[in-house]
């Protein structure tokens, strides 16, 4: 997944990630556990997450 500069680091994506694949420290970072399921896209209040191109 791609995280844009609009991410403020609120952590919602990390909490709702079913795979514990998101680390949040001022911004969100996906680790190798990410399956590209896209749930984080829905829960981001800023529309800051998108699928990899």
């Amino acid at each position: 997944m791609k995280v844009s500069g609009d991410c403020v680091g609120c952590g919602q994506c990390a909490a709702y990630c079913p795979f514990d694949a998101i680390i949040v420290f001022a911004s969100a970072f996906m680790n190798e556990k990410c399956t590209q399921c896209g749930k984080c896209i829905d829960y981001c209040p800023l529309g800051a997450i998108s699928e990899d191109e």
């Binding site: 609009d6 403020v8 680091g9 609120c10 952590g11 919602q12 990390a14 909490a15 949040v24 420290f25 001022a26 911004s27 829905d42 829960y43 209040p45 800023l46």
Partner: protein, 410 residues
């Protein structure tokens, strides 16, 4: 009468419950998959964290939000904190909040009584900041640090960024309504109860539903477009702030646009900790005026153990974000926590920061511009339109109350 509400945060839900109670047909559109905005629970590893605000109601069961919830018949149990708050002194000693006066030299103690009484009666009319006000009358290092700690905790601002008159209004409310409380079950106990009230009165709340446009004709709001569908309404109320709302229609009022562009959101960082042993031991606010960044800490599980898994405590440390470098700010906050609790074992659960498009408050306290927009029948509620003297969600409730008076609903 038909009301459409944009956003199911606390402001939108309070407004929806009020209007549904007054006989309006209410429809609320929320773009996210859940309701409650930045005032609901965030389930995380068995803990009930929060999406935004701490699990706290600044004036507890006596404040404006609690009063509004009671009037609506919302079933929320607010556990008032006892002690209300404590201050951790430079030497690590803990004192009750109200004893802060004793830390001042006797001459300043006497002056505090008279200056405060005078200033509460005759609010400053100029643009003096709260920091400027303290420097003018007291010039006391402890008071300045305490002011930053209090303003940072409650408003995510430094004392230099809060107008003195707004802070005095808040102090007045502290006297009137007293201190904080924890909603049993966390933030979602409040927003969940409002959701139920709205549904029980026939209102409809749609998630995953982003409002694309506000329909305006001759400067009168007439409805919204959601997923390509037109929804007509007699009144449109937006919980997404003045700026976000103005981008949903063709706003041509230059004066209004200039005014709202100057609204500065407040920004902050919340560090959520888990611990087997209590770090604080009560649910009152633990003010940390001598920490570098952390302004205060709250151990909510002392009020409601169900906010953490059995045997665990949930602790939330909050700090205003002072520089643009969020990572540095977080590092300093973590260092503060390590120094505040050097012999305690705890685990960092989640670090949440709030700024820009998802801030602490869309309008920082003291900069709120009210509910009205240049468009008739289009109003703003929420943290972008708080009532004066209202800390966080209390300000949201006061702002909703102001709007209800304006449109004649009591």
């Amino acid at each position: 009468m038909k009301a459409v509400i944009i956003g199911a945060g606390l402001g939108g839900l309070l407004t929806g419950a009020k209007l549904a109670g007054a006989g309006y047909s209410v429809e609320i559109f929320e773009k996210l998959p859940f309701t409650g905005g930045r005032f609901t629970n965030l389930p995380y590893k068995g803990f009930k964290l929060s999406t935004g605000a701490l699990h706290m109601i600044p004036h507890g069961s006596r404040g404006p939000l609690a009063q509004m919830l009671r009037e609506m018949g919302a079933n929320v149990n607010i556990i008032d904190s006892e002690p209300m708050a404590v201050i951790r002194k430079e030497n690590g000693e803990i004192i009750p909040f109200h004893d802060f006066r004793n830390e001042l030299p006797l001459t300043k103690q006497a002056k505090l009584v008279t200056v405060l009484a005078y200033s509460l009666k005759f609010r400053p009319t100029d643009d003096i900041t709260f920091r400027g006000w303290i420097l003018k009358y007291f010039d006391d290092d402890f008071l300045l640090k305490l002011a930053d700690s209090f303003c940072g905790w409650s408003l995510s601002l430094q004392a230099q960024d809060v107008p003195a008159r707004e802070m005095l209004e808040i102090i007045n409310n502290m006297y009137r309504y007293k201190g904080s409380g924890v909603p049993a079950g966390g933030c979602s106990a409040v927003t969940g109860a409002l959701y139920e009230i709205i549904e029980s009165k026939g209102g409809k709340i749609y998630t995953h539903s982003c409002v694309e446009k506000i329909i305006v004709n001759n400067d009168i709001a007439q409805g919204v477009i959601v997923k390509g569908n037109q929804i007509d309404a007699d009144i449109v109320i937006s919980d997404i702030g003045h700026i976000g709302t103005s981008s949903l229609y063709d706003c041509t009022d230059k004066e209004y646009l200039d005014k709202i562009q100057n609204l500065k959101p407040s920004r902050g960082i919340k560090i959520c900790l888990s611990s087997d042993e209590p770090l604080i031991g009560h649910s009152g606010v633990y003010f940390t005026p001598y920490a570098k960044r952390v302004n205060g800490i709250n151990e909510v599980t002392n009020a409601d153990p169900s906010l953490a898994p059995p045997g665990k405590h949930l602790i939330m440390a909050h700090q205003a974000m002072i520089s643009d470098d969020a990572r540095k700010e977080i590092d300093l906050g973590l260092l503060d926590i390590a120094q505040l609790f050097p012999y305690k074992k705890y685990e960092v659960l989640l670090i949440q920061s709030y700024s820009d498009g998802w801030p602490v408050n869309r309008a920082s306290s003291g900069s709120d511009t009210g509910n009205a927009t240049p468009i008739k029948n289009l109003y703003i509620v929420g943290d972008g339109a708080k009532g004066h003297g209202g800390i966080e969600v209390e300000g949201v409730a006061l702002g909703v109350g102001n709007l209800m008076k304006e449109i004649g609903i009591y």
